[in-house]
């Protein structure tokens, strides 16, 4: 079976190279036949990669330890449902997964490319094939998942116990799909740039793709945070680790892009800017995959330590030269019709949002590469972790939330200070009220109550627009529900965007609450001992020990009494995996809308006592709630709208 997978990998590489060369030659010799035959590979490559994928899955299920990859990432005791996770838990498998996703996305993009983009299709396809060829070549020649061992081990190394978590079923595949997915809008923009016929035709198609990829990345990041929160045992969800940062940066730039592309859609502005943005997003996505190449979790310290790192760096440099080279050659075609009517307009607000998001991405990138810069210039290594990013990015995010509140209140084209002042009056009042209320409640940390004030500002601005719009439609004889649905349906990108904004407010609630008002206590308890944390009384009852094939589990039972004298039994899970010499934990979490009580058992002492870390994290629930909200918003924004002939309106709504 493994041979079939290996062969079909070579077939995919051959097809993909043909797709690349054929598209170029076809265009060069103006041969429609060659072009068309090259384009057909788009549908054949996913099939052959699917065969490779299936054969690797079957190798996992059959415990075919002849394959080095299978032996390294699974063992006989592994539950077969974790095959899906084991599949992409290493370098080789994750490359196969990425190639598989890219080939599928390419096929979908080629299939559904609108007629108006027919002329750029060969170029877009050639670029996508080029990227795919790179991944397939790297995989077959440097990190082949079908490489065999000279002997057959009796049992495999086993899967990393930290990965046996439901979050791992979706977090890595969504992040990897999101990162590689940026290739599609990038290739569309580049294709158009190469033809030199710069038009707005690509805008809608590019917008749909980038929104999908943006949401995929967002959910991937959020799931990763959830995974870290429940399993890593320190009670946090985001550590500004290089690996997290490199996934965040393309997301930030894509966020800028999905805003500025709306300006081009509505007003025909920012033509050049949008191409620059998607170039940056793609470069950062490649950078992210390059940093990731050491394995699923590596630190900056393994930078380019393997030959694979250098190959990725080379490809990154090539793609930078290529994309900005094409951009430079076509600069004369790009002379845009910049017509900014006023400094105070939605366009200007979007530009502000763009520049701020880029600033955050840039500062984050600077933090990621600074250890290397330091090594080159001063010969010493330094660590750049959370304290740097919190200090520097914290205020930038603060301003970003402010813009999120003001931007939607400014109409397109032109506005006046007077009308803006009128528009921010109600949200401003509500925000002030919220701040007073928070101060009375004892929330006195400036950054916390000011951020919450801003959150109230953003939410009020959005809710008011909804209420006003609904009421004015309701005045025409609809009931409230119908009027609201009609309002949202009338401008899906706008109201979907609002829901995404609310999702970010929800996220901010959790982040601010837990970073400023989280309570943390590390305790060691003997049986029957109890500790008081915040309003909770926590008593350690007993530990049950279960011996499993690959691990020993410790089930630590606790009895928690809250301030209203309600009893809850909680269980903090901990296991030791002798094969990997690793411990894994699963936190006991009692989650309410107000706060999480979080208990994790950090150590079992020799004398029978158990060490616990107990946290009370305010408003964390709202962080996870942001996920479904964001998906809803994106789906609404994407939902196709029957295009009406009179789509050229420049009104403020």
């Amino acid at each position: 079976m493994a041979e079939i997978g290996s062969i079909s990998l070579y077939i995919a590489l051959t097809l993909s190279s043909y797709g690349l060369i054929g598209s170029i030659l076809g265009k060069f010799f103006l041969s429609y036949q060659i072009q068309r035959s090259a384009l057909r590979t788009a549908y054949l490559i996913p099939i052959s990669l699917l065969i490779s994928t299936l054969s690797l899955v079957i190798a996992f299920l059959n415990h075919d330890f002849r394959l080095e990859y299978v032996a390294d990432h699974s063992n006989l005791a592994m539950n077969p449902i974790y095959t899906w996770v084991a599949f992409y838990s290493g370098n080789e498998g994750s490359l196969l997964y990425i190639a598989m996703v890219l080939s599928l996305l390419t096929a979908i993009a080629v299939k559904f490319m609108p007629k108006s983009l027919e002329s750029i299709k060969p170029y877009t396809f050639a670029i996508l094939s080029g990227i795919l060829t790179f991944f397939l070549a790297v995989m077959t020649f440097m990190a082949n998942p079908f490489d065999t061992l000279p002997f057959i081990p009796a049992d495999g190394q086993g899967i990393n116990p930290l990965l046996t978590h439901p979050g791992m079923f979706f977090h890595p595949p969504m992040l990897m799909a999101g990162l590689i997915g940026v290739s599609v809008p990038f290739s569309i923009a580049m294709g158009m740039l190469i033809t030199g016929h710069i038009s707005n035709n690509w805008v809608e198609f590019g917008r749909v793709w980038s929104l999908l990829i943006w949401a995929t990345l967002a959910i991937g990041l959020l799931l990763g945070s959830w995974w870290a929160y429940t399993i890593l045992g320190w009670g946090g969800y985001w550590a500004w680790d290089p690996i997290e940062n490199v996934a965040l940066m393309p997301w930030l730039v894509l966020t800028a892009f999905i805003h500025s592309i709306m300006v081009q859609k509505r007003r025909g502005l920012f033509k050049v800017w949008n191409i620059v943005l998607i170039n940056i997003a793609f470069t950062l996505a490649l950078f992210g995959m390059f940093i990731n190449r050491g394995g699923p979790v590596v630190s900056v310290h393994s930078f380019a330590s393997s030959a694979l790192g250098w190959v990725f760096l080379g490809f990154l440099a090539f793609s930078l030269v290529f994309s900005f080279g094409v951009f430079y050659l076509r600069r004369t075609n790009l002379k845009g019709t910049a017509s900014l009517d006023s400094m105070l307009s939605r366009e200007a607000a979007f530009l502000a949002n763009n520049i701020l998001l880029l600033a955050i991405a840039f500062v984050t990138l600077w933090g990621v590469v600074f250890p290397l810069v330091s090594e080159v210039f001063q010969g010493t290594t330094v660590t750049v972790a959370a304290p740097f990013y919190n200090k520097v990015n914290g205020p930038l995010f603060f301003v970003l939330i402010f813009l999120m509140g003001v931007g939607p209140l400014i109409p397109w084209r032109n506005s006046s200070w007077g009308s803006l002042r009128k528009a921010i009056q109600l949200p401003g009042l509500v925000a002030t009220g919220a701040i007073i209320l928070l101060l009375l409640m004892g929330i006195t940390k400036p950054f916390a109550f000011l951020s919450y004030g801003l959150c109230a500002f953003v939410a009020t601005g959005i809710l008011r627009e909804w209420i006003k719009g609904t009421l004015s439609l309701k005045g025409k004889g609809h009931n409230y529900a119908f009027a609201f649905v009609k309002l949202v349906a009338a401008n899906r990108p706008r109201y979907g965007g609002y829901i995404a904004h609310l999702a970010l407010v929800s996220l901010a609630l959790g982040v601010i609450g837990s970073s400023f008002y989280g309570i943390q206590k590390d305790v060691i308890l003997a049986k029957g001992e109890s500790v008081k944390v915040d309003t909770y009384n926590i008593e350690y009852i007993e530990t049950k020990v279960l011996i499993k094939a690959d691990r020993t589990e410790f089930l630590n039972y606790l009895n928690v009494t809250d301030d209203r004298n309600r009893n809850i039994e909680m269980m903090a899970w901990r296991a030791f995996y002798p094969d990997q010499n690793m411990a894994a934990t699963r936190a006991a979490i009692k989650s309410t809308l107000i706060e999480d009580l979080y208990i994790v058992s950090t150590e079992a002492l020799a004398d029978g006592r158990v060490a616990f870390r107990i946290l009370v994290n305010p408003l964390i629930w709202w962080m996870w709630f942001a996920g479904p909200l964001l998906v809803t918003g994106t789906l609404i924004a994407l939902w196709p709208q029957s295009t009406v002939a009179f789509s050229k309106s420049d009104y403020p709504m």
Binding site: A385, F388, S419, L429, N491, S649
Partner: protein, 176 residues
Amino acid sequence: MLRLRNLAQPIIVITLLTSILAGCFSSSNGLTIEERAQALDKQLICPICPTETIDQSQVQLAKQMKNIVRERLTGGASEQEILDFFVSRYGEDVLAAPPAHGFNLTIWIVGALALPSAILILILTLRSMRRATTAQSPSSKENLDISDIGQYLIQADKEISEFLGTGSKHEQSDEV
């Protein structure tokens, strides 16, 4: 109602200013040893598990370092003295963020300049776009008021039904 409107802005400004001042003075003192220790835990990297602070890490060394932090704080040492102690022992990369002196100052300067330079770039870009526009053509300036959403919807409906000539009242443009 009118009076309230006039009062709104001063109220907002005054509340914000007083609350910022109040917040600045109320926080920062009265921290317990454990709270100070936890803050320090988050600034120290565990030397044998890169990118994890001793607050995050569960290895034995991190636990020992945490104990040292608590012992020294109880003994009256300042935060800086404790950080210096660990730097002398494990080198500068034990700190979770580079100290702001020497070459390492550059990382902080770039960080601090991010917002001012973003604002500067924004203003310069907007001005050049604006200049290009006025040079091109004087464009029409409709000053539509966002707060009159109801008025606008009625107007839009009217225009749309005129355009379609169908008289359909509730059709709307996708670009509303």
